[in-house]
């Protein structure tokens, strides 16, 4: 067997072996090579460590005052010279209400953002409209006035003439 570390195409064998995804025959073959190849041994050990570490890692619980401490830190960093927009942002995202309350407002904020985008995307349309306001479609007006002439009696019967 060729050493997988020598050819890029074979590097997968190494990863698959560590992930136990290699076919039994290939596994046996590779293990024979592994015993006599220090390079592969080192890589397999390293890879196993990474996998073990990932497996063992579980995200720790977030402390109850995490948000408060985060905001305090942000505030401290920005205290010196905060631009107006940052103060404004902070007022929105750091209101004097508990986190769960403003968290419930996030969908609303997102909806507003989407709406704003939708409006900005639609802007070409409103521009069209303004242009059309200047240049009215005279043929459509003509057709409408024709309908006006048809649908509305030419001489309005004066009230009480009946």
């Amino acid at each position: 067997m060729n050493c997988p570390t020598k050819r890029n195409e074979d590097a997968e064998i190494l990863l698959d072996y560590c992930a136990r995804k290699l076919a039994p025959l290939q596994t046996a073959e590779f293990e024979i090579h592994l015993k006599q190849c220090p390079d592969c041994s080192r890589l397999v050990e390293a890879q196993k460590e990474v996998l073990a570490a990932l497996k063992a890692w579980t995200p720790g619980p977030v402390s109850a005052d995490f948000d408060a401490r985060l905001y305090a830190r942000i505030a401290a960093e920005e205290a010196q010279a905060a631009p107006a927009w940052r103060l404004w942002l902070r007022r929105i995202f750091q209101p004097p209400v508990p986190y769960p309350l403003w968290k419930s407002a996030v969908p609303l904020i997102a909806a507003c953002a989407v709406l704003a985008v939708a409006l900005s995307v639609r802007m070409p349309d409103s521009v069209d409209h303004r242009l059309r306001a200047d240049k009215v479609d005279i043929e459509q007006v003509e057709q409408t006035l024709e309908d006006f002439d048809i649908l509305t009696p030419a001489v309005q019967a004066p009230a009480g003439s009946m």
Binding site: V121, L145, D149, I150
Partner: protein
């Protein structure tokens, strides 16, 4: 920083979604702007703008437009509103039914009053026109309304 993080993917997504389908539709021959609004816009134009628009029509059609507009502008706002409702009802009909209504009204208008009255109450109107269409036809002859 929160805003950028939370919104930018959404922004990109909705922008893509909103832009893609709006691209190709070929401009229709007669733009489908709301006819009543288009008429109001025309009626409220400055004399220069109106002159500019009218100059695109041959003299005869131009004269007809000017005459009808003058008539339209003698109506009270309530009467104009009533016409817009009728126009809307008309617009809601299929093209061929719009033409049938127009033709029927013009037919009746050409008749002497007695014949016209018969036409407005006769079977032809009841059998060949939907209730909405009948309303449009009858309302074109308000003087006849109470005579049947």
């Amino acid at each position: 920083m929160f805003v950028c993080g939370a919104v930018s993917p959404l922004w990109a997504q909705s922008r893509k979604a909103a832009v893609a389908p709006r691209k190709p539709p070929a401009p229709p021959k007669r733009p489908q702007a709301n006819p009543a609004k288009e008429l109001d816009r025309f009626a409220k134009m400055s004399p220069e703008d109106r002159e500019n628009a009218l100059s695109k029509l041959p003299p005869q059609r131009r004269a007809a437009v000017e005459q009808r507009l003058a008539h339209y502008q003698t109506l009270t706002p309530e009467q104009q509103e009533k016409f817009k409702q009728r126009l809307e009802m008309m617009q809601s009909l299929p093209k061929d039914r719009q033409d049938a209504v127009r033709q029927k009204i013009q037919e009746l208008r050409a008749l002497p009053p007695a014949e016209r009255r018969k036409g407005l109450t006769g079977d032809d109107l009841k059998q060949n026109f939907s209730p909405d269409e009948q309303t449009l036809v009858r309302e074109a002859f308000p003087g006849m309304k109470n005579l049947d």
